[in-house]
Symmetry: C2
């Protein structure tokens, strides 16, 4: 039995990719079970509710040597804590390749597309398998979520083609309305504790020297209602401060992405982060907020800049 | 312009994969040039001569930031010396994933098949492109070479299916006769210097702790005429001794694989290697030769055993 799971602090792509890939493997005669490494966010909960499926069960640990399939991530810092003891047999991902290694030849499929969902659709086609309406709905939701309905610079022609193909199969006639409903669900943050907001779409990246990296925690809140988030600025800064101390991080940032206006205003904890933002991005911070303009993709517009900044030129 | 190349000490798979993948990328509108990182062996020279194509040009260095495509390998120890400064945009490979990382999302395609040639045939099919006779001949040769015409335990059903498909396209009616001619060419070692024989299919593997690995050099001579190789045993042991000292290795082994009888008798340099072979494989060494029985695949039957031996159990 293969355990299939996406990254910690799962987003819609991580959860749906695990569900759909486990189903695809099952149709190919490979026994696989989908899991999640954390709670679904409000957008994902909406997607699953609309699709009429339960979230996959929570996975907290696996015994050494267990066979696993990673989707939508590959770095150990974003995976099960004891990933290095597990046997990775398959990976389907659209992120840069980090510290993953395998002990045996494995199936690895990485492409620079906007969503793991887009890549999974290719796997259905290559296997000569039809896409069932439920799978189509989950894959479509993943693509809309990761690309912010094509607003993100990570969007590719393949993502657009995939959505055009999937929408009629899923029975979704108004894709824009469905995407807006997803984003509204994501933005309905209500009385969510500040720490939960911070960790909702949060990843730790090791920058610079692999043996002695600068560990930076980068959170993102994608919302149609940024005013709500900035109304809770002092709580969020306190949560960032706690997280930095607890996890021994070099820096913490929380980017508040306005989905509809395609802008990124980022919460900046201290003078340390302020200096890095000034030197790496050339932006100034005022009252703990830095205007990162149209840099709405952490993966494509924030992480590579910090990676370059911290990497000594050889 | 993408530079496409296989591993150092190239074998037939490494050379032909670079040639064929560069041609495939070209047909997809991507500007790519095949290279080799070393001299073709006698088998590869035979394959290229029969196909009527030149070996790709030798590549010794590339400027930092150059875009490269790796085929048939992924570990930096087997690649261009400054791989960590280059931008890897694509990898097609059938080995375990080593220390490769990418700075951006890339195209990575790994499958546990017997040869990169098998995987490249899949890429033609997925792209909806016909396979031209030259490409078919090169891919077929790679599969026969890497699988020792299906004798190696790395052979999969996909390798057999690929050869069955490719042979008529390549115009090769007697596959067994062609394979034997390839292996005879490989075995015609003549007055090749001992150091060249040792390095012909030679790879360095870092075993154990990534930060302080045991570096082992593992050479293989696949031949239909093992008697010739053992006739030069003392020269080969001297070459192994030199290599160990020059490269600061922890161990050196040279496996002499009898292709037709499917056996592996391995030259063992010193008491250090002898101890490891005893403890890891349970075999004794006599007169610098250890009988590794039917373990004819370095990748599948030798490297994993040493990897396990040197990895502290967690
Ligand atoms: Mn994703
Ligand atoms: Mn190969």
């Amino acid at each position: 039995m293969l355990a299939v799971f996406g990254h910690q602090n799962p987003d819609t792509d991580a959860i749906t990719a695990a569900l759909v890939y486990a189903r695809l493997l099952g149709r190919q005669g490979i026994d696989a079970q989908a899991y999640r490494l954390g709670e679904p966010n409000f957008e994902t909960a909406f997607v699953l509710r609309e699709a009429g499926v339960d979230a996959p069960p929570l996975l907290e640990t696996l015994p050494a040597g267990a066979q696993v399939v990673l989707v939508d991530h590959n770095e150990s810092a974003q995976s099960l804590p004891n990933l290095h003891e597990l046997t990775v047999t398959r990976v389907v991902d659209h992120h840069k390749l980090g510290d993953l290694t395998t002990t045996q030849p494995a199936y690895l499929r990485f492409e620079p597309v906007g969503s793991t969902g887009t890549l999974l659709l290719k796997l259905f086609r290559e296997a000569g398998l039809s896409v069932e309406p439920l799978d189509a709905r989950l894959l479509l939701s993943a693509i809309l979520s990761d690309t912010l309905h094509f607003r993100s610079p990570t969007t590719t022609a393949e993502d657009r083609d995939a959505v055009a193909f999937l929408a009629p199969v899923a029975g979704i006639t108004d894709v824009e309305a469905y995407a807006l409903a997803m984003f509204a669900a994501k933005s309905d943050l209500g009385d969510t504790p500040a720490e939960t907001l911070l960790r909702m779409d949060y990843k730790v990246f090791p920058f610079g020297e692999p043996t002695a990296p600068h560990q930076w925690g980068l959170g993102v809140i994608e919302t149609t209602n940024p005013g709500y988030v900035f109304g809770r600025q002092s709580e969020l800064l306190a949560a960032m401060d706690n997280l930095k101390a607890e996890d021994g991080l070099s820096g913490v940032l929380l980017s508040v992405v306005d989905i509809l206006n395609e802008t990124n205003r980022t919460l900046v904890l201290s003078a340390t982060e302020e200096k890095v933002l000034r030197e790496a991005f050339g932006v100034e911070t005022q009252g703990h907020v830095a205007d990162l303009g149209a840099r709405i993709s952490r993966k494509k517009q924030v992480v590579p800049v910090l990676e370059t900044y911290f990497t000594p030129q050889g």
